[in-house]
């Protein structure tokens, strides 16, 4: 019998996400997937899953769900977790009895993750269950969840024989100092752009989303003239003609026409996924070598703590 999960209160915007959609970016389909990759993987670990199963990602507000049979769940990124009104510790995994409600509130940052043993079993689209909203692709009918939706869960193994599973660390820290490697297109921007980005405070604009984090702050001098559109890296810091900086996140446009001043290191893009509107952001420059070293360490630590049965995002798509 398939376990079904009823969405009792979908919150502000809850979507199904996984590790993302690899191998389709040459057709303009961004990888997407969970923005705070570490918190997403820990939610799966706490749900006794391999780390790449589909989970719920809730934006700015929580979610209330009700499974129709007993299920093991893992929650990261929220401080208030209740089962039928009874509190359970934050950042933990636990049993949710059938027909009881699991209520998640008070996010640590901008996004929390709720995983269930067996994973959310929506059909994969182009190799991933992630929701990509602009093209209504993947997830549950390609859209944010609504109250009353019924989601199928995958086949679960035996539940952990413990009362509770805990995550040893919290992955979210604030304020955010964001490390980036100055990039290839610095020469298309005035010198001052880099010094302003490094010395001045910025805050997160409410117009941010999973395509990009828009920054509010002192104007940055834009590049002169126009350039042909070129591929955009995730983490790229775009400077618009209006002098605004946008840090490109997982669901960015794969090709863009604004010069990129530098690229935020991968683990710091996960943390930017937790930045709320109004949060302060400051920047620090690192060398490409240091960026690679820090990222490899972070990915290896995460893989050791939250193993995936398959290489994350490992199946290349057909051309």
């Amino acid at each position: 019998m398939v376990t079904r999960l009823e969405i009792v209160d979908a919150g502000l915007r809850t979507t199904v996400q996984d590790a993302g959609r690899c191998g389709w970016e040459h057709l303009g389909v961004p990888r997407g997937g969970a923005l705070d990759f570490a918190a997403y993987r820990w939610a799966n670990r706490l749900a006794a899953n391999r780390a790449d199963l589909a989970a719920l990602e809730c934006l700015l507000a929580g979610v209330t769900v009700r499974p129709d049979t007993d299920v093991w769940a893992g929650v990261t990124g929220a401080r208030q977790v209740r089962i039928d009104g009874r509190s359970v510790p934050a950042w933990s995994g636990f049993r949710v009895p059938g027909e009881t409600s699991l209520e998640i509130q008070a996010l640590d940052g901008a996004r929390c993750y709720v995983a269930f043993q067996g994973g959310i079993a929506v059909p994969p689209v182009l190799g991933s269950r992630s929701t990509y909203l602009p093209a209504a692709l993947g997830g549950f009918e390609g859209r944010p969840l609504r109250s009353g939706d019924l989601l199928p869960l995958g086949m679960a193994g035996p539940m952990p024989q413990v009362e509770i599973l805990r995550a040893p660390t919290r992955a979210i820290t604030s304020p955010l100092q964001t490390r980036f490697a100055p990039g290839l297109r610095r020469d298309r921007l005035p010198e001052e752009a880099l010094s302003i980005l490094l010395s001045q405070p910025f805050t997160v604009s409410p117009q941010s989303n999973e395509m990009g984090l828009r920054l509010l702050g002192p104007p940055l001098p834009p590049g002169a003239g126009t350039m042909f559109s070129e591929p955009m890296p995730v983490g790229g810091i775009q400077i618009t003609p209006g002098g605004h900086a946008i840090v490109l996140l997982n669901a960015r446009g794969t090709i863009g026409g604004y010069p990129v001043l530098g690229t935020v290191i991968t683990p710091d893009t996960w943390r930017l996924g937790q930045a709320r509107p109004g949060d302060p952001i400051s920047f620090a420059a690192v060398s490409v070598e240091e960026a690679r070293r820090v990222t490899v360490d972070a990915l290896q630590d995460l893989e050791a703590a939250t193993p995936a049965a398959l290489p994350i995002c490992g199946k290349p798509g057909k051309t």
């Binding site: 040459h26 057709l27 602009p134 490697a181 070129e230 026409g257 690229t263 690679r292 051309t319």
Partner: protein, 223 residues
Amino acid sequence: MGDSALMVEPADAGAATVSALAESIRSALARHRAVDVIPSYSSLLVRYDPTDLAAGRIEAIVRGIRVAPFERATRHFLVPVAYGGSLSPDLDDVAALSGMSTQEVIHRYCSARYTIRCIGFSPGFPYLDGLDPSLHTPRLETPRPRVPAGSVAIGGSQTGIYPFETPGGWRILGRTPLRLFDPALDPPVPYRPGDTIEFTSITWEEFERLSGLPVRSGEEKSW
């Protein structure tokens, strides 16, 4: 470009070279995980997992690839576009900036055969070469938060089609009723860099009738 991506700019940066090089790199790295190779006008981006592949290794592989002359047969796509009213919010501005009537703008826009340089930004968005120089028009100062799906638009010397509603700063001339991206099809986008596109003007009645049909290759109208 950071810790998990490399930008490659081939010396001979023709569209055919960049696209063929991207395909060769994709094949060479097929056994590695988390690889995406995104070609554009004169450069391409290789995304990789730095725990699986070192940047130096990718550089060596890329340097070892010799791109054969572009031999793949190209295909042609005829794309119907309706103009006027709410479908063409920037047609009057483009006409004013180019000093032509809107009819002349539409005529010139539909007279060219465009070459697809790359696909991206959003799923299936074709970046097209071959825009009549008299129609080159600067991008909007402030991008629109929402460009309707199917909009055909001009950005500088480039033109393209927005397959989905996304933000965008290009000037919108008209709208195609056809569907350009379908994840249920293999491949989900029928055209590739090097293929050609031609626009043909249709009425609003035809627009209604063709709404949601898939784009197909061929020299003649498929509707």
